[in-house]
């Protein structure tokens, strides 16, 4: 905070009105007269400073958020094929079409599967690993690095390497299954419509779990051990301790991680695009890949943009809801 906001200048000492105790009333502040303990000149200076400090942020918000958002809304309301410089206005036609497009519903179903499994699995596995590693001191750095490593790898590299692993001709997954006598389970993982989505999802879970694990492990360091020990003395079992003692203390962190992974489920694109391209025959298509193929493979930029806006609209309520819940729990003093 600047000096002007904390200590009155000589000028303010000469002109300052007596300061009333309690909250100033908004109606009186709007009247323009000297209502606070600071003179008008100081408040103007503060206003200018405030504006100056917020201009860069506002410029960034306008440039990188509002303008693209406005542009997206515009393109969703016209019929732009990527070439025509003056696309015709079509109103809500793109939105009407997508609600009647069976491929959208199929993609949304895959998104739903991805959101549920792609959120639950990393949370469960990451939490389990974190609990196992909670008391481990020796070699803990190695384990943390090892588990976190997949998260820092580029999604493209992960997709390519796991594509090799799943390859029915050269991949080691089928070879490993053959070796242990489970050859009957071997299949063309990414080309079989019954397994393709789950194979890609498995890769995504592998890549995400390390992040969840590290966050949970950090949160567990702040859990009040006296409560845990007390509950142990009271005869609770491990599940009861987890549910009633540990989880409530790390709940804000749990919700934060849930929010991140869940929103990722709505916007998932890269790993699917790399591994299957949405195939075979749409079996792994999600809204993100369908928006991309509509926009850039079929030159239906406007339809793809409308799909992208729908993804945003679907994701925002979840993000806001979880964020509010997290904030409320934090204000209640619950959590790590």
């Amino acid at each position: 905070m600047s000096r002007a906001t904390t200590a009155p200048t000589s000028h303010t000492r000469r002109t300052a009105a007596p300061v009333r105790s309690g909250r100033p009333r908004a109606g009186r502040l709007r009247s323009g007269a000297v209502r606070s303990g600071q003179p008008r000149a100081t408040r103007r200076a503060q206003t200018r400073l405030g504006i100056a400090l917020t201009i860069p942020l506002m410029a960034m918000i306008v440039t990188f958020f509002l303008v693209p958002l406005g542009s997206a809304v515009y393109y969703a309301l016209v019929d732009f094929n990527g070439i025509n410089p003056q696309p015709p206005f079509v109103g809500a036609d793109n939105f009407v079409e997508l609600f009647g497009d069976p491929k959208v519903w199929a993609a949304l179903k895959n998104n739903a599967i991805w959101i549920v499994l792609g959120t639950a699995a990393p949370l469960a596995i990451g939490l389990g690993l974190a609990l196992l590693m909670w008391a481990v001191r020796r070699g803990s750095i190695f384990y943390r690095v090892a588990f976190f490593f997949p998260y820092v790898l580029p999604q493209v590299a992960i997709g390519v390497v796991w594509g090799w692993i799943y390859d029915p001709v050269r991949g080691w997954l089928n070879q490993a299954l053959e070796t242990v006598g489970l050859g009957s389970l071997a299949t063309g993982w990414l080309g079989n419509p019954d397994t393709a989505l789950y194979a890609v999802l498995g890769t995504a879970v592998w890549a995400t779990t390390g992040f969840v694990f590290i966050i949970f492990l950090s949160a567990l360091r702040n859990v009040d051990m006296e409560l845990v020990e007390a509950s142990r003395l009271d005869g609770t079992n491990p599940f009861q301790r987890l549910w009633h003692i540990i989880l409530p203390q790390i709940m804000p962190v749990f919700l934060m991680v849930t929010t991140i992974t869940l929103i990722g489920g709505f916007s998932v694109f890269d790993i699917i695009f790399i591994m299957t391209g949405g195939g075979p025959a749409g079996a792994t298509e999600v809204l993100g890949t369908y928006a991309y193929s509509s926009a850039f493979q079929l030159n239906r930029i406007s339809y793809g943009t409308a799909l992208a806006l729908v993804i945003t609209v679907l994701a925002v309520p979840f993000a806001v809801g979880l964020n509010r819940l997290q904030r409320r729990l934090s204000l209640q003093g619950t959590g790590a």
Binding site: I55, G191, A281
Partner: protein, 421 residues
């Protein structure tokens, strides 16, 4: 102090925004008139790009025109090229496909230079059938690309070892596939993980079944795509898969993996195009034959198509230099060079009598020389003649047939719906 802070911050913000606005690339249409940009698709073999650079250097030396060669992966080419052309920052000359989903879309948007007058001026000897593929609204908007055929490569050595003769009809092919399958080898290394291979699989089966006239009828909209012949062609691959003639899961096999299976002798046949001949020559130590996909009553016919060829951006201000470069790309010397170095065949006559090529490629040269011969017709590669919407439906459809997600009738119906869009 506050005022100065305000001014400084405002100035900083303004400078930041101004700097951000000043970082766009300079337009290509200005600058040195003797320098042009040439954009090509990234070749599979990086060495090919170096060869092309060396070859272009010869043109630069002779003409005094500098050519800046750029390459983009095929996957990015469409998006980047369209964006560049629309923004006026496109290459002067670029290599692009000639079908309605490719050059046709750019021509419709007025992004291509009209080369009709240049054809007269330079008297380029392009085959008439090929010129038709780059003619939109009566205007010639580019030079058609290399000629390609699609068929079946087969391992002659393995066939001989198993006592199998070259298939002369569909029944022969099935009998050969059964013998190969029973010997523990994959008969046909069909891949369809990427999806685009499905267009080739349908093209070869359909072309051999209905011939070029039937294909013309389909492509002109006179025969619907849900006709019995299309259904039968789709069903051939479904039946082949169920009979064990294909890998267990073709939609899991990438194009490269399928090629590797053939190179390694793990598969006896490979359904793909003549562009792979260079790779086959480099990677196999057995004798390879190349046949059309057989018809029920005969040997069938190769499906033929045109690859990417040079076009000029409508926004280019260096059209004279660009046309001179295109003239070089249509020259007999360049044609001979592409045959010997790139393994591709230009869409104009080239004296190949003394060309140093493999026997397999010599066969393709002979086959493609019949492209302009109505007495010895060739079939069509569908995806270079149809729209993106149709192609996507075709690629998804063949995958759906192979995985059992849809039957041949359903896919054919989808093809017809997509064709009408």
């Amino acid at each position: 102090m506050h005022r100065s802070t305000f001014r400084a911050t405002t100035a900083f913000a303004a400078l930041t925004l101004a700097a951000a606005g000043c970082t766009s690339a300079p337009p290509s249409t200005g600058g040195d008139d003797d320098s042009i940009r040439y954009l090509v698709q990234q070749p599979e073999d990086p060495a090919a790009l170096e060869l092309l650079e060396e070859h272009i250097a010869e043109f630069e030396k002779e003409s005094g025109i500098s050519v800046e060669l750029e390459a983009l992966p095929m996957g990015n080419m469409r998006t980047v090229l369209q964006t560049q052309l629309r923004s006026g920052d496109g290459p002067d000359v670029f290599s692009w496909g000639s079908g309605p989903g490719y050059a046709g879309a750019l021509a419709e948007a007025g992004l291509l230079y009209d080369m009709t007058a240049a054809y007269d001026e330079y008297d380029w000897p392009i085959y008439d059938f090929a010129k038709e593929r780059v003619t939109f609204d009566g205007r010639l908007i580019g030079v058609p690309g290399e000629m390609e055929t699609i068929g079946l490569f087969y391992n002659k050595t393995m066939f001989a070892d198993l006592g199998i003769d070259e298939p002369k009809n569909l029944a022969d092919l099935k009998a050969a596939a059964e013998t190969i399958r029973d010997a523990g080898t994959v008969p046909i290394a069909a891949s369809d993980q990427e999806g685009w291979q499905g267009g080739h699989l349908l093209s070869m089966a359909l072309s051999s079944r209905i011939g070029p006239d039937g294909m013309d009828s389909l492509l002109n909209g006179e025969t619907p795509w849900d006709s019995p012949d299309v259904v039968a062609a789709l069903r051939i691959w479904k039946d082949f898969h169920e009979a064990g003639y294909l890998p267990e899961s073709p939609t899991s096999i990438s194009y490269d993996s399928a090629n590797s299976m053939f190179y390694a002798g793990k598969a006896a046949m490979l359904p793909t195009g003549s562009w792979l001949i260079g790779g086959i020559n480099r990677n196999t130590d057995f004798e390879v034959g190349y046949i059309p996909f057989p018809a029920e009553d005969g040997p069938g016919m190769f499906s033929a198509g045109l690859g990417s060829g040079p076009m000029i951006s409508a926004g280019s201000t260096k059209t004279e230099a660009a046309l001179e470069f295109v003239d070089f790309l249509v020259s007999p010397a360049h044609g001979r060079w592409t045959i010997e170095n790139m393994g591709t065949i230009p869409a104009y006559p080239v004296d190949t009598a003394k060309a140093d090529v493999s026997p397999l490629f010599a066969q393709v040269i002979e086959d493609t020389s019949r492209l302009d011969d109505s007495k010895n017709p060739l079939g069509y590669n569908i995806d270079v003649l149809t729209t993106d919407v149709f192609n996507q439906a075709m690629w998804d459809g063949v995958q759906a047939v192979l995985t059992g997600q849809q039957n041949a009738e359903q896919v054919a119906q989808t093809l017809e719906t997509s064709f009408q869009k």
